[in-house]
């Protein structure tokens, strides 16, 4: 922090007015109060910001109820919260329900297992965002971690009770759907995008166009609905594919179609000369694609890819309609209980905060990658 401070002083000597306070004053004057109009706008916005900020602070902190008493039967007495409605937040609902929101109907005593899985996911994301971990081993670590996550969630070995996946819920479901969904969708998208552009194989091309256009032209909800209700009708009696797996496949197909168009945009933006140079050097189609075309094409479209990732991460909440308990569904269900009805604000703020954390992390990572890849590669 201090290093960047001093370097900015060196770069901009006109701003170096000595003490940090006067630098701040200079910044304020030049950015916020440069003209009478901007001063008025700045003051008005400042007033609104302070007022709303203070109101929110009062609601969320000063007048908030953090805990509620329980009666003899152990039922929460939410009278205090009801009394404070509109004045103070009732965070007691979060304190009471966070385990259910995070892990759904997973057996209470076993919830350390999905908790570890969530930490594993977060660890994987964090490691994958670091350039120094980009080695072949990372793929292996991913594979091992994903198998471990599956094993932990299901159990049924080493004394861990078996937990069928219709009992899973909450954050692990959201992360599983999003991670496996994107991990499956991305290669599919690359293949579909390449296929759509292949001139030599009209059949492959038609297949890819049909896949992309059909899936893109259908709402995700109807796709999930088909996966959950219609698809089993076509299976022979006795054969049953798990509901979660069906939803997962629907997600892979859906995200794949959208990502395919993003990847295609990247492929199209690549100058033809790159491909020709690779051809002239004697590289084969897959060598050319993997070493020359895709690395450049994908870098071009990082912002769009991450945009799709973020949208897709939040779309996992649509599994609500087929009765899978993802994070949004558990949140909604938590306030179905009569005692807690009406405390949606608090719960939805919590959900928003969780979604935001993941999406913001993706967004920052995207910005970092863009910066990293643009180094030394101006043209």
């Amino acid at each position: 922090m201090s290093a960047s401070h001093s370097s900015s002083v060196e770069r901009a000597p006109t701003l170096a007015l000595g003490a940090p306070l006067s630098r701040a004053a200079f910044w304020l004057r030049s950015r916020l109060f440069a003209t009478p109009v901007s001063a008025v706008v700045s003051l008005a916005l400042l007033y609104l910001l302070l007022r709303w900020g203070w109101d929110f602070f009062g609601w969320a902190v000063l007048h908030a109820i953090w805990q509620v008493p329980h009666d003899a039967a152990g039922l929460p007495q939410t009278g205090v919260c009801r009394a404070a409605e509109g004045v103070g937040a009732c965070w007691a609902v979060v304190a009471e329900k966070y385990r259910f929101i995070l892990f759904g109907f997973y057996p209470y005593a076993q919830q350390w297992r999905p908790a570890i899985c969530v930490l594993l996911f977060i660890g994987l994301y964090a490691a994958s965002a670091q350039q120094r971990f980009w080695r072949r081993e990372l793929a292996l670590i991913w594979a091992v971690a994903l198998v471990l996550i599956g094993a932990l969630m299901w159990g049924g070995f080493a004394g861990l009770p078996l937990v069928a996946d219709d009992q899973w819920g909450g954050l692990p479901i959201t992360l599983i759907l999003a991670t496996f969904g994107l991990a499956g969708a991305f290669p599919l998208a690359v293949l579909a995008a390449l296929g759509r552009r292949s001139r030599g194989m009209p059949a492959v091309r038609m297949l890819c166009v049909c896949y992309i256009e059909l899936i893109r032209g259908v709402p995700l909800i109807s796709l999930l609905f088909m996966a959950s209700v219609m698809f089993p009708l076509f299976l022979p009696a006795g054969v049953d594919i798990d509901k979660l797996l069906r939803a997962q496949i629907a997600f892979v197909l859906f995200a794949g179609a959208y990502l395919a168009e993003v990847v295609r945009a990247g492929l199209q933006a690549l100058p033809k000369g790159q491909s020709e140079a690779a051809d002239a050097l004697g590289l084969g189609y897959w060598q050319k694609t993997m070493l020359i075309v895709l690395p450049q094409a994908l870098r071009q479209v990082i912002p769009m890819l991450v945009n799709t990732f973020i949208g897709f991460f939040k779309d996992t909440s649509l599994v609500l309609i087929i009765g899978i308990f993802d994070l949004t569904t558990t949140g909604r269900t938590a306030i179905d209980e009569p005692a807690w009805q009406g405390f949606g604000n608090e719960i939805y703020l919590l959900l928003a905060a969780i979604y935001f954390t993941f999406c913001f992390a993706m967004s920052r990572t995207s910005a970092r990658l863009e910066h990293l890849f643009s180094r030394g590669q101006r043209r």
Binding site: P271, G273, Q274, E276, A277, A278, D279, A280, L281, G282, L283, G284, Q287, L291, I292, P295, Q296, R299, F373, G376, Q377, R378, R379
Partner: protein, 247 residues
């Protein structure tokens, strides 16, 4: 004399309705240096790009280094391994360093060990006089430097034939010389070269033969001294006058 390095017989090509190559017959001997010139749109780039099948010809026969170009992928691989190409717009791979640009094909196509490929690449980078740029990315180099890297990259495949498609047309005037000097140096090693270029000085200095194309046909060909001194056709006379006026 042994069989020619490149043999084109009655080659024809159309882009849709447009007849871009009309009955081109041309043979280039091993070690020969041929300069192809002609007004823009004359089909000279298309012709040279047919030699390694960046463009497909539709009629006629092209035999390169004893292998006929057909839709057979094997034959194409063999030919592309033996034919290096330098493009007008360099086409270096911007996401790879200069060294990686040069070692990519030897490692992946020739299956050369990495160490050996890097030594080879450094040797050619020294020959084009930019070994000190090996760790940089193409975007950090000037146009002339990039084009010299592109020449080194093609040479790293140790091709028997080098094709140049207007290698100096995208360069600022002060950089043309460094690229031409590199090409002259290459010509002195006895490399078989086909160059599409408007650099008549270069043609005079290194070419065994100049081929003049116009409207998809070979109009005239011969040693540079003869062809420039006594153009036999009006079309070449007109072209030369325009080129010279431009200089």
């Amino acid at each position: 004399m042994s069989e020619p390095a490149i043999l084109m017989e009655h080659v024809q090509k159309w882009f849709g309705q447009m007849h871009v190559l009309r009955d081109i017959s041309l043979s280039v001997e091993t070690g020969e240096r041929v300069v192809v010139c002609g007004p823009s749109g004359s089909g000279k780039s298309t012709m040279i790009r047919c030699i390694n099948r960046l463009e497909e010809h539709q009629k006629g026969r092209i035999v390169v280094d004893g292998t006929e170009l057909t839709s057979d992928v094997r034959a194409l691989d063999t030919i592309r391994r033996e034919v290096g190409m330098v493009f007008q717009s360099f086409n270096l791979f911007p996401h790879l360093t200069i060294l990686q640009n040069c070692t990519l094909a030897p490692i992946r196509v020739r299956r050369m060990p990495k160490r050996e490929a890097e030594e080879l690449a450094m040797e050619y980078l020294r020959r084009v006089k930019i070994p000190e740029q090996a760790a940089k990315y193409p975007g950090q180099l000037s146009g002339g430097q990039q084009q010299r890297v592109a020449i080194a990259r093609a040479l790293c495949m140790q091709p028997k034939i080098m094709l140049f498609d207007e290698p100096t047309s995208a360069l600022d005037p002060e950089m043309i010389k460094e690229v031409l000097d590199t090409m002259i140096g290459l010509a002195e090693t006895g490399m078989t070269m086909v160059c599409v270029t408007h650099e008549m000085g270069f043609a005079r200095q290194v070419a065994n033969r100049v081929v003049f194309m116009d409207r998809g046909e070979v109009v005239e060909s011969g040693p540079p001294a003869e062809i420039f001194a006594n153009p036999a056709t009006d079309r070449l006379r007109l072209f030369l006058s325009q080129i010279l006026r431009g200089h």
